[in-house]
């Protein structure tokens, strides 16, 4: 019986194989590996904590219940990001949210809703001053990302936050490689425009 510690050193494909064989610990390992990346991608796409959580949950339930139909010639990460991105895009189509508010989602009315939907940076640095600066800069970047078109946003997040290769992004988003490169280029141009004031600071 493999433990979570044993699984940590295995590749995604091997963990998937164990999950297919009915090992619950392998399911939990996949969840543990992709919980934050998938949630972060969806959250940055939809900018609503509750909705992001529902969509992330929907993504994982779909993926984990369909492991038998997963084809190993594709990267597991591409597969899961594809489903997560589709869920986020579908949600955005249903309910278009245009602007990001660091103080909470635009539809948040009560204090609890504002608190729940506010962007919160969880990874704090050791130096308090650097941490404040980094948080301010991070928040500015988050705002600039939020202004991008959803397609550009997904591409730039997968490229720079997740560090995925262009080919993998194309596979994940079901787009031609050339389109991915164009989207990333345009996203960079828009970010450069939005963040031009940084070079003066």
């Amino acid at each position: 019986m493999p433990t979570a510690k044993d699984l940590a050193s295995l590749g995604d494909q091997q963990v998937v194989e164990l999950a297919r064989a009915g090992k619950e610990v392998a399911y939990r390992e996949l969840l543990h590996r992709y919980e934050r990346p998938v949630f972060s991608l969806i959250y940055r796409m939809v900018r609503d904590h509750a909705a992001a959580e529902d969509l992330a949950q929907e993504t994982f339930v779909k993926v984990l219940n369909a492991l038998d139909s997963y084809r190993p010639e594709y990267k597991f990460s591409s597969w899961i990001f594809k489903i997560a991105n589709n869920a986020a895009i579908d949600h955005l189509r249903r309910r278009e949210v245009r602007t990001l508010s660091l103080d909470g989602a635009p539809d948040a009315r009560t204090a609890d809703e504002i608190q729940a939907t506010a962007l919160q940076v969880t990874d704090h640095g050791p130096n308090p001053l650097a941490e404040v600066e980094s948080r301010e800069l991070g928040a500015t970047i988050e705002q600039a990302i939020a202004k991008l078109r959803p397609e550009y946003r997904a591409c730039i997040l997968l490229r720079h936050v997740e560090g995925r290769a262009y080919e993998e992004i194309a596979e994940s988003l079901d787009l031609p490689l050339g389109t991915v490169k164009t989207y990333i280029h345009r996203a960079r141009l828009e970010l450069r425009e939005s963040l031009a004031h940084l070079k003066d600071d």
Binding site: R20, A21, G22, E24, Y27, R28, L31, H32, E35, R36, P37, F39, S40, Y43, R44, A52, E53, A56, Q57, F60, V61, K62, L64, N65, A66, D68, S69, Y70, R71, Y74, W79, K82, I83, N86, Q120, V121, T122, D123, S134, L137, G138, I141, E142, I145, I156, H160, V161, G163, D174, R188, L191, R192, L195, A196, L198, K199
Partner: protein, 172 residues
């Protein structure tokens, strides 16, 4: 020049800050909520055990019928196997004779078909076509290409309606 340097510096700053963006975490209990909706496949050994248990728990009449069926098969095999072993030479002779007859019939049928084709009017019409020997190579190439194109078209026709094999959409 300074403008380009500034732009380059800004690009690097953006790329660096993007890669430093933190991950957000879902609320506590997320894993539990997901796992509650996931149906785990049962291990093979457990499936076999469950099937055996279900079989054993069948009503007595069904078990009696299954037992009688197995007994009949065992008795029949008890007679059949020694008989086959005793008559192996004649069985193999008979099988060989039968195979030779089938082959002979197939050969005769083939010959009849060839004769019918060679004496048909269509064959004469094809033979009398004014095709020069130097055109033969070109015609052969043309026919090969057309046949390959037809194969490709057929393959595309038989593929999924989206025309691509995408694991996610097919899986979900």
């Amino acid at each position: 020049m300074d403008k380009y340097l500034e732009q380059d510096e800004l690009d690097r700053l953006i790329a660096r800050e993007l890669s430093r963006l933190p991950y957000y975490a879902p609320s506590r209990g997320f894993q539990g909520r997901v796992m509650a909706q996931v149906s785990l496949p049962e291990p093979r050994a457990l499936v076999v055990l469950q099937r055996t248990r279900a079989w054993v728990l069948q009503p007595r009449r069904a078990l009696a019928l299954a037992g009688a069926y197995v007994a009949c098969a065992a008795i029949a095999l008890g007679f059949a196997v020694p008989w086959v072993l005793q008559h192996v030479p004649s069985i193999s002779y008979g099988t060989g004779l039968m195979a030779a007859k089938v082959l002979g019939a197939a050969r005769e049928l083939g010959m009849a078909l060839a004769g019918w084709v060679l004496t048909s009017r269509s064959y004469e019409a094809v033979r009398s076509l004014p095709i020069l020997q130097e055109h033969l190579a070109g015609i052969t190439v043309l026919l090969t290409v057309a046949y390959a194109a037809a194969a490709v078209a057929l393959y595309r026709l038989l593929k999924s309606p989206r025309g691509k094999s995408v694991p996610v959409s097919s899986a979900l």
